[in-house]
Symmetry: C2
Subunit: 351 residues, 2 copies
Amino acid sequence: MKTYCTLLISSLALACSVSFAQSKDGGPAPLQVPAKSLPVPGDVSPEMQKLIGAPPNPVWDVLWKTGEEWRAAANIQAAKTVAGLPAMRQRLHVKVQAGVIDGVKVYTVTPEVMPPGHRDKLLIHVHGGCYELFPGESGTSEAILMAGLEGYKVISVDYRMPPDAYFPAAVDDAMTVYRAVLRTTPARKVAVFGTSAGGALTLEMMLRAKQLGLPMPGAIAPGTPMADVTKTGDSFYTNEGVDNVLVSRDGFCDAATVVYAHGHDLRDPLLSPVYGDMHGFPPAILTTGTRDLLLSNTVRVHRKLRAAGVEAQLEVFEGQSHAQYQFDDRVPETREAFGEIAAFFDAHLGR
Amino acid sequence: MKTYCTLLISSLALACSVSFAQSKDGGPAPLQVPAKSLPVPGDVSPEMQKLIGAPPNPVWDVLWKTGEEWRAAANIQAAKTVAGLPAMRQRLHVKVQAGVIDGVKVYTVTPEVMPPGHRDKLLIHVHGGCYELFPGESGTSEAILMAGLEGYKVISVDYRMPPDAYFPAAVDDAMTVYRAVLRTTPARKVAVFGTSAGGALTLEMMLRAKQLGLPMPGAIAPGTPMADVTKTGDSFYTNEGVDNVLVSRDGFCDAATVVYAHGHDLRDPLLSPVYGDMHGFPPAILTTGTRDLLLSNTVRVHRKLRAAGVEAQLEVFEGQSHAQYQFDDRVPETREAFGEIAAFFDAHLGR
């Protein structure tokens, strides 16, 4: 038992000298939180309410163990995602062209209308999916969102995934595309963005660029990055069962990442970039939600960037679980999130 | 039952066409979250771990019903808080002088050392405490933190509270001080800051200044503002029992606010400023934590400011409950939080 009077100095507590239980190792005991029932928040759009009100991802606890198993699952999902893409491209008035850059497969997404100030800029997109999901065209939806909503040309990297290749194939392929882009576009006119594993890859690319002595892009937008895959981060606990997309750190996404890591130390900054040195990173905008299992991952990266003197802007959306800000271009909050990212890019690219 | 395929477009879910239960009114059913045990996060400072690891505020569910009862409770707490202030002032090298400005009691906090760029600037502090707590000198601790850590002169408003006066006495008194300050200091060299009810009061002052046609200050720092006291905001639910300071929306803090409101509509923007029109607000920096019961209040204000075209910066600290970033000047995260606020003020004041 121990007293805690530090709280007194400015807390809202009304009493002092209370004592608390300690755990066996002498540290404070875990906090016990009772079961609860969470209503769908009323202060978000009806469209977002549908996403937040959806039941927990029914396959959150599917834990495939090999690259082959993951690829089979990814292909089933990809076919369904791809079926929705033509209508999305039409809604957003973009063209998508498959190609290869220095051996890496890419999709170039071009909007019908591009503001004059965007015509000399280029965005590189690295898709999410726990380093295992969204192969091929199925990985282009976020690139289509950005190109269509904000009028930027986007190159989406279809990086290699298991079983074709394992760590560090994803970041290697993204870097190949980045180097190629630098041959034709000044780095300060290039931005890199992505969500989840794509957010982590965005940060991993910056660490790699520093190692290689390459210039930094003008800005980055790591969305709810898988910046720490070691189960460090308070929201892995507080938002367990609250996030209806990932549901739990002990679910599919980290199982997939372990397969990609292929025995490599998960604490390596090229897998958990929160442990990397972020000095010299370009201006960054980060996006997450209050129910996101990776809320802590995101705010920890934000704080780490700020501590390294980097201009970094944090956007946290009410009630959203992991990556829900980029699930559907027809949701008002999606347009708000991409509007913020584009405004940030507009303010920083080319400077 | 209903299908949800919107998720497919870019979600991490692996399956489609799942169906989900609906509530009786046809909307989605609430999400059931099982009981959980939250370890103290390992990725914060040892000093902050002590605050996060403290047991839930033992008096969170004390619900006094009159101004007189609240004042009695506030006086007991104030005596304990005041006992710690001399050591704090000494550690932080500040002097505190009681005074009266146009009939309103204030404390002027002056640091021993003030950077040259701060000598023509002035900060106004409005303390927190649910509009009932921290009367007199006990309300000065956050002002001492800011003055001592960041070298700014601060006027802390000892606004009237029940049973002496009820809504809108707090914002009236703060405005009296603001008007008086404007007689000697240009608005663009003035900042206003405060936490919790003080964060709400900061926002309420801006709404009032707009009504009165007064110039806006150069910047504001509403910390985890009580911006919505109507129990709207998802973290009132998700962080119930997770936040060890406020613990629950149905606890002491909102009971105190109801007494201050004195029958007035809680949805009035001068009690729930998230419902106010924030166009024309000055640049704002907001601070909260991932376990904060008012996380949603804070991010909703941030989004509302951004939607109104206001420059607004959001800082979310790992693992922290309500207002813990300003509990103790010796905690590294406290210094980080006030460092961010001061950097923001330095960037915006006097421009």
